[in-house]
Symmetry: C2
Subunit: 215 residues, 2 copies
C-alpha cells in the first residue's frame, strides 16, 4: 500500500538499504531478498519488508527484489535521482575535509560551494573551487542551485551561520557544530555531533565493566 507517510525511523534506514543495494550491484547480483538486505544492513527481514512497503510494492512474491530497480526507486525516494547540491559553510579543518570527501558524489550529493565568514579565507582556491563570503550566500546558492547547507563553523558562530543560510533560502541543514540552533519550522535540521557520539560510546563502556548504580 503506497500511502503518503513514511515513519522517520524508516527514513533513517533507507540510505542504508540503498548503500547495500549499490554494493550488491557492484557484486553483479541481479536479485536480492529481504533476508539478504537485512544481513547486509544489519537488521532483520521483517523490518526491511515493512520499511519498503511504506514506499510501495517493489518486490515480486516468491522471488525477491530486483536490485537495479529497487535501487532506482530508493534513489528517487531519497531525492538523489538527480544530484543534490550542497554548500559547506565554514572552511576549517572539518569543512575542508568534507569538501574533498569522495563519499558524497557516489551517493548523489555534490558540494558545489564553500563559504566562510573570515575574509582572510575568502578567495582561497580549493580543489577547483573558491571560498566565498557567507554574506553572498543568497547569490551563491541561487547561482549554484544549493539546497543543502553543511555547517562546519565553531559553536559560537553556528546560529549566525544558520540564520544566514536560512535567509538565503536553504531548507535543509546538517549542523556539525555542537550547539542547538533554531530554525523555522519549514527547515529540516539534522545534528551531527561527533563528540556526543563518543560520549554515548563512553556510556556503554561504563556499563560493560560491572553494573554501577547512582553513586
Amino acid at each position: 500500500m503506497s500511502e503518503n507517510h513514511v515513519p522517520p525511523t524508516t527514513v533513517q534506514r533507507l540510505p542504508v538499504y540503498l548503500r547495500c543495494l549499490l554494493r550488491a550491484q557492484s557484486q553483479r547480483m541481479a536479485l536480492i531478498n529481504s533476508v539478504g538486505i537485512a544481513e547486509m544492513a544489519g537488521t532483520n527481514a521483517a523490518q526491511v519488508r515493512k520499511d519498503l512497503s511504506y514506499l510501495g510494492e517493489y518486490g515480486t512474491r516468491g522471488v525477491g527484489y530486483d536490485v537495479d530497480e529497487l535501487a532506482a526507486h530508493l534513489s528517487r525516494w531519497l531525492g538523489i535521482d538527480t544530484e543534490r547540491r550542497a554548500a559547506i559553510v565554514g572552511f576549517g579543518r572539518l569543512g575542508s575535509a568534507l569538501q574533498s570527501y569522495p563519499g558524497f558524489e557516489d551517493r548523489g550529493v555534490r558540494v558545489v560551494a564553500v563559504l566562510d565568514a573570515d575574509s582572510a579565507k575568502v578567495g582561497t582556491a580549493v580543489d577547483g573551487m573558491t571560498v566565498e563570503s557567507i554574506e553572498d550566500a543568497k547569490e551563491i546558492f541561487a547561482r549554484e542551485g544549493v539546497e543543502i547547507a553543511i555547517i562546519t563553523v565553531p559553536s559560537e558562530a553556528a546560529q549566525r551561520a544558520t540564520d544566514k543560510v536560512v535567509e538565503a533560502g536553504v531548507k535543509a541543514i546538517l549542523n556539525f557544530a555542537p550547539a542547538s540552533v533554531e530554525v523555522p519550522s519549514d527547515v529540516v535540521l539534522r545534528q551531527a555531533d561527533v563528540a556526543a557520539e563518543l560520549q554515548i560510546l563512553s556510556f556503554h563502556l561504563n556499563r560493560l565493566r560491572g553494573a554501577r548504580s547512582t553513586r
Copy 2:
C-alpha cells in the same frame, strides 16, 4: 528511582543535556529547571525529567537542578569524569581533521594516537603525535590506554581496520566509513555516515515541494 537500565533513546540525549549544562555554567547560572534545559536542548520538560529520573533524583522539588551538580552527575554517567582516550584509525583528510578537532578535549575525550595501514603515512608527525602502524594497534592501545577507536578509513578497508582494533581489545568503535561492519556482541559500534545524513535531508526536501506518491 535509580534503577539499572537506561533506555537507549535517553542515552542519546544525555550528551545534549550535558552540553546545555556546560553552556549554562559558562553563563554563570547556578540553577536550572526542566523547562530551561528543554528549551536549550530542543525537547520538552517532561522528556527531560523522565530522562534524568532514569539516572537518579538529582533535582530539588520546587526549585530545579543545581547546574554544577547535575553536570557532574551526567559526566559520571557518560564516563567522562575521567578523560576517555581514543585513537583515530585512518589518517586521511577526515582523520586528520578529527585529530585536531578542538571539540573533543572540552567534552571529555582525548585523541591519543593516530594509526594508518599505509606505511608511507606511518611516521608522519602531526600536532605532537606520530602516525603509527595499525599492525601495532595492540601495543599502542595498551601503552596509551585507548578505549575508543574512530575509524576513518575508506569503506573497503573498514572491516579490516575494525577487526584489527577489536583484536587489540577495543570495546567501542565510531565508524565513519559508509559500510556495515561486523563486531562481536561485546563491542559497541556506532555508525557515522555523513552521506546518509544528507540523503535523509534530501528525502525531506522532496516532501516539502508537494506530495508525491509512488510513481
